[in-house]
Symmetry: D2
Subunit: 126 residues, 4 copies
């Protein structure tokens, strides 16, 4: 599926089309010089912390019911995390979706459903 | 597109199918009780830092050429970041790809190519 | 006050003596080459996330009553954060305690007690 | 050594006097309700990331020579990290300086000078 400039079709974006748009974005600005994987990993961690900041003083329960303007900011920080993750994956030639699918498999073996059920003590990973 | 247990077809996974697999994974383990957005945002930041840890003492240039066993670990941490991001998006009902596409648009206006070219001073975002 | 090798007197350590011990530690191992401020800032963020990891699935209330073995691990992560912070301050020639005292002054002006009382909305800083 | 309100004597602050000032600061604003260790650990990680943000696109070498206005911002973020660390230590009844001294001892055993010299591979900790 090709990226498109038609905003009505933007839903058809995929991780691949986002990757391609980020490539062009960076090329047009001559920003590839800054995008060493080390720097992208820093940027990713910084964005993840900016996302977390919105939750820092919230009660756990309240974090489930964000006000619309709060959710809009959170959504934008989530986008930043995804964009840097896609960019890093591009630079390292990692297939993100495949990597995630592999990790779910590994977690399924690490946390068998019958042993892990409701157990926060064993819960140190997804 | 449906998730599949056939490993040869696992490439056909999408963010949606990963989301569905994470939902089942969590339900089978009764882990939804831990997955308040606040906690997922913490987990995401922790995973982003674990990813960053692999780069902390590397020279910028060396971060472009990871050894295969190093890359395998980095790939796994990237998967963890994506999985928590998908899980958080599910809980907050955020369309990740749409959010990312919107953010690219916003960045394009914020950093016009002609002004931002090669400029690390203005470079505070993707 | 001088650092001492006498373990019974270790209580007399101060930030300055810790700084001096870290300097010697690094010199003896030829590690200064790795300690650019950028790398130390990464290491600090990584340690802060390792500290946070111990709290990620805990209820807010339970985080006030850590089991002794959990507290021991948390204490060690807090030490790591402090050590990297001292090291970074040394490299940048920052007086940490003075910087912190200055910041308390600034926060006192930013958050007047009568306006900020019990107000989590204005609460975006210490 | 007692904390003092005399700004000329502010150099005499110690971690203990900073702890006491933060206690009063929080009491006057009724902010203790927000200061569960879990929340303070989040705030600490967020501040560490804000500190890191200043370094994200800098060359390693350039991070050693910050411009004065950049250093002023970095210094303020370092203060934030220290303040939250002191506050967390107060809530968990941890002696920060003692914890750090203990950790240096442990690291000295973990990384014997003769084996660790100039070795970035073994370098996974201070």
């Amino acid at each position: 599926m090709q990226p498109t400039d038609n905003p009505r079709h933007i839903k058809s974006d995929t991780l691949e089309s986002l990757r391609d748009r980020l490539r062009r974005f960076s090329e047009e600005r001559d920003w590839d010089q800054f995008h060493a994987p080390k720097n992208l990993a820093i940027a990713l961690a910084v964005e993840a912390a900016e996302l977390l900041e919105h939750f820092q003083w919230l009660k756990e329960e309240d974090s489930k019911h964000l006000a619309p303007e709060q959710l809009a900011k959170v959504r934008e920080e989530m986008a930043d995390v995804l964009l840097y993750l896609i960019r890093l994956a591009d630079k390292l030639d990692v297939d993100l979706v495949q990597a995630a699918a592999d990790k779910i498999e590994r977690n399924a073996q690490k946390y068998p459903a019958d042993k892990a059920r409701g157990n926060s003590k064993k819960y140190t990973d997804l």
